[in-house]
Chain length 382, copies 2
């Protein structure tokens, strides 16, 4: 390798990387590879894992059912072409190659290196700029131009940084880009207990927007309601409650007749029908998930007589279409985390000790066992 | 009455008017009233029926299930408040009251009278400006400001003029307002055999836009396909064919990989799902009817990964929101009919003779028996 280390100790790290060579059930197709990391090349940084979440989209990607496909290549000297799972995560910069200047061979552009990243320092936290980065690895080298720097943590937690690019961004853009929500306006969402749902509750509260939050009934429903109220939820309803015809009058009372300008749907099926019915004329329902695996069903009359709009949102596409705004958003959300205006809740952390020397199989089993469990997990290096 | 007749013979016409005083099944609630028409008042015209269609929306309005409600009042000296059905229709001007100028008492506006209508002449054909006009009557007086003049028929047929305000307009606006369809672009529709569907086929053909037309299978499917091809349809598929997974490849071949930019849906349920699947990225599905009485079901993945938009169109609302453009549209479509660029097909006409003296019950039974039959009917005065 031509690159020279600038400011870290010259050391070849031993990395453990989760890989798969064929799509399939994670417990069957995931493997782990132990390999020596080369020195970082020109314009590259050496990264050490801080935390990587296991998202449903990661699992679907391994299963081969996700729209965004990972890159398969014969990296690490493997005989088969392999892909590294993990779309999201935060790493610490532990080494830097020579900065890259001049004309980039790939893009033929003179300013491929983000100038803010030319000032990247060892100890900075970084997240991937794009999906399919392959975050399920203890160490990796990456092009600096593929990274967004969060600077030094300064109060940011591993959990916050690891999940900054999907849930808060999805909630933020959906509340901003589909309906003009002014202070005092209302929105309704299902799956309100999800990571995105909890972010939407908090952001709405911060911005003076009122929320009606639908969740599935469960044994500890009162606890969950209290938890969402504590985050800032104005009202919490069960799916059964919002399916009842009388709910329209109740919501009309709450909203002073205005009803909801926006509905956020991550469930589909009857649940999407029920929240769409609470929209005002020209209200918008935005679908970002489909937990029920049922189509989004909207009554004909809502389209024809109420002129409601039904749309979709995919944060991966938004990021690719808005690279500069994406970076600004990340910095904005990071500052909200640091100011304790937002918090990440209801996510389980699984700690992994001794990144450099722990057995590889242990690293692999953390992911496999977390995928097998219900709830959302983030692997945190310690 | 203060108005004086300007150019018609001074004659009090005997009108037969269909009425209902309660919502319900048309065969039960519809009645007929025979009454002497007063002379036309200030700013009014006396109208004689040329033709009035029976639309599904008229029937739903009588049943009380339509979003747009008719006006109930104690007109014609009836003891109960009654409404007159019929949203669409064409009339001949047979008398004119004194022209109304100056300040209108209702609106306090100085120019309430459409200047083009100040030139309204006996013999001109007129259609109502707004829905719920109450067209199911042999004669009526109406405010000139509530009318749109088509001028002298000049080749326009009663069928064309009577149906000008709904089907052609709905098809025209849906093809223009939701997607940018350039020459050679494709759209798909279900219920292609409907009045709107047949207009969409013809307009698309005129504009160089390609159509894929879905219809229900039937015994005379080959005849129907030929009929739609003759109107300008590029392809005609049955619901079964468009439900087959392999159809995507076929449509991709037809469209050279471009798929459809627009889908027009008047069916809902699985049919809407199947046509939505043929949309390109950011394609739009527009719902204007729901014959299956099933919700519009769109798979979550189409919203999230293909960013398709689902919207609705209601010609009544469009007319109310765009009164000037509506009048221009009517003149444009009338000139397309006169130029034989468009034709009205697959509508049954029922003739009614001797408007002035025929028995009232005969007039009522025309409507009742046409409602009871399948297919679309227009009552034409002869």
């Amino acid at each position: 390798m031509q690159g020279a280390l600038k400011s870290s100790v010259r050391l070849l790290h031993t990395a453990r990387t989760i890989i798969f060579s064929n799509y399939g059930a994670p417990k069957e197709v995931l493997q782990v590879l132990k390999h020596k990391l080369p020195e970082p090349g020109l314009g590259e940084a050496t990264l050490k894992l801080i935390a990587a979440p296991i998202n449903p989209s990661d699992i679907n990607q391994i299963e081969g059912t996700y729209a965004s496909k990972p890159e398969f290549s014969k990296r690490f000297g493997s005989s088969d072409a392999v892909a590294v799972p993990g779309n999201e995560g935060v790493f610490e910069v532990i080494g830097l190659g020579e900065p890259q200047t001049g004309i980039d061979r790939e893009t033929n552009s003179k300013d491929v290196v983000n100038t803010s990243l030319n000032t990247l320092e060892v100890g900075d936290w970084v997240i991937p700029k794009k999906a399919s980065f392959g975050t399920w690895t203890t160490f990796k080298n990456a092009k600096i131009s593929d990274l967004i720097s969060l600077g030094k943590p300064n109060g940011l937690t591993p959990l916050q940084a690891a999940t900054i690019a999907v849930n808060p961004l999805t909630a933020y853009r959906m509340l901003k880009d589909f309906a003009k929500l002014e202070k005092g306006d209302w929105f309704i969402q299902n799956g309100s207990n999800s990571g995105v749902g909890r972010m939407a509750i908090q952001l709405a509260k911060l911005w003076g927007i009122k929320s009606i939050n639908v969740v599935r009934d469960r044994r500890d429903i009162d606890e969950l309601k209290q938890e969402l109220h504590d985050l800032g939820a104005d009202h919490v309803l069960t799916e059964e409650q919002v399916a009842d015809r009388s709910i329209k009058t109740v919501i009309s009372d709450w909203t002073n007749g205005a009803m909801c300008k926006l509905a956020l749907n991550c469930v589909g099926g009857r649940s999407s029908t029920n929240i769409a019915k609470q929209l005002t004329d020209q209200g918008v329902i935005v679908t970002y998930g489909g937990m029920s695996k049922q189509p989004v069903g909207i009554p004909t009359s809502l389209y024809i007589f109420k002129d409601i709009h039904s749309r979709g949102f995919w944060v991966t596409k938004w990021k690719n279409n808005n690279p500069e705004e994406f970076e600004q958003m990340i910095q904005k959300v990071a500052s909200m985390f640091r100011a304790k205006e937002l918090e990440v809740t209801a996510i389980n952390t699984v700690e992994f000790q001794n990144l450099e020397n722990a057995p590889s199989e242990e690293f692999l089993s953390l992911f496999k066992s977390s995928i097998a469990k219900s709830g959302k997990y983030v692997i945190v290096a310690n």
